[in-house]
Symmetry: C3
Subunit: 133 residues, 3 copies
């Protein structure tokens, strides 16, 4: 298993990590799939479309902030953090994504990339990358 670290820069942010995942994957031999796992409760992972102008990532951030409203009657508040909504947004994404491998490469579609989903940034975050046979 390999581990990535990344620094997020905004409260809600979709950060493409396709290159880092490919690097961590290295030569997977005859593995059947890659497993990408996020060990955080206010973050997740999705497969979506990278754009040079980042419009899809920006739309995702805008939309998740609207789907879960900061003004709802949340109960989980702590002295050191004010992030109850970030848990719900994370639960709407995935803690794990599994992508089949073809000739040792993730079978991503033409428009697909792998995105880390930050819902309580800025923070230093980890992503685990391993293979399945």
């Amino acid at each position: 298993m390999r581990e990535l670290t990344l620094e997020t820069t905004r409260r809600t942010e979709f950060v493409e990590i396709t290159e880092q995942v490919l690097e961590a994957l290295g030569d997977p031999g005859d593995a059947a799939a890659v497993l990408i796992y996020v060990p955080h409760v206010t973050a997740g992972v999705v497969v979506q479309e990278p754009r040079d102008d980042d419009t899809v990532a920006a739309d995702l951030a805008m939309a998740f902030d609207r789907i879960v409203d900061d003004g709802w009657p949340f109960t989980h508040f702590e002295d050191h953090e004010q992030n109850p909504w970030s848990h719900i947004r994370a639960a709407l994404t995935n803690s794990s994504v599994v992508i089949p491998l073809v000739d040792g490469k993730p079978a991503l579609g033409t428009w697909q990339g792998i995105f880390f989903c930050e819902f309580d940034g800025p923070r230093t975050r980890r992503v685990l990358v391993s293979t399945l046979r």
Copy 2:
């Protein structure tokens, strides 16, 4: 790995593909699980309830269209497509689903079927089906 193709017929549509997945799976030998992967950024896959009257599929389409409102201030517009909301709806479903196999068959519950989730149809779409040990 096997590949399905399907034709969707509406903008937002939940299409059952259980039979096609079983056919693509064939005899999986002693594999432990089946991996179903959607290589698109405006579509996904979920496990839900097939009905002869398609009411659950219709409710899913209605609800995803409401959870993500077409009127939000999206930024991702292109000349050839007007689909920023479809990326968000897809991100709320899954690009991959993994189902354990028992005696070579997916361990689907009594009421479960596998659904392709179209959020930018009608289109020709692909689904990848592979096995994990």
Copy 3:
């Protein structure tokens, strides 16, 4: 493959099942990952934060009840059940979660636990736990 059963007590409820999953997993030998699968269409599984005061679980239940409104024009009603919204809420979580194993233990982050998501309780429910190589 091992199977858990649990009894849920409320209509919408996030129940931590980390201990039961670990027990079902037992000694996984050199398996690479654990697959947790929910064979129900009005329930799911997510990785989220267990709290002694259950505030995160309570916020998740509150939020999923708001994201999908009981008052939307659903069509799936049956004599013996009135639960069209529960299918949509379930589709927003996951039927399967895959967690990598390190030294035979799920590589859960510091704040992570595994939660069964009930959207049509109270009911008796099943969860399947198996390993992937």
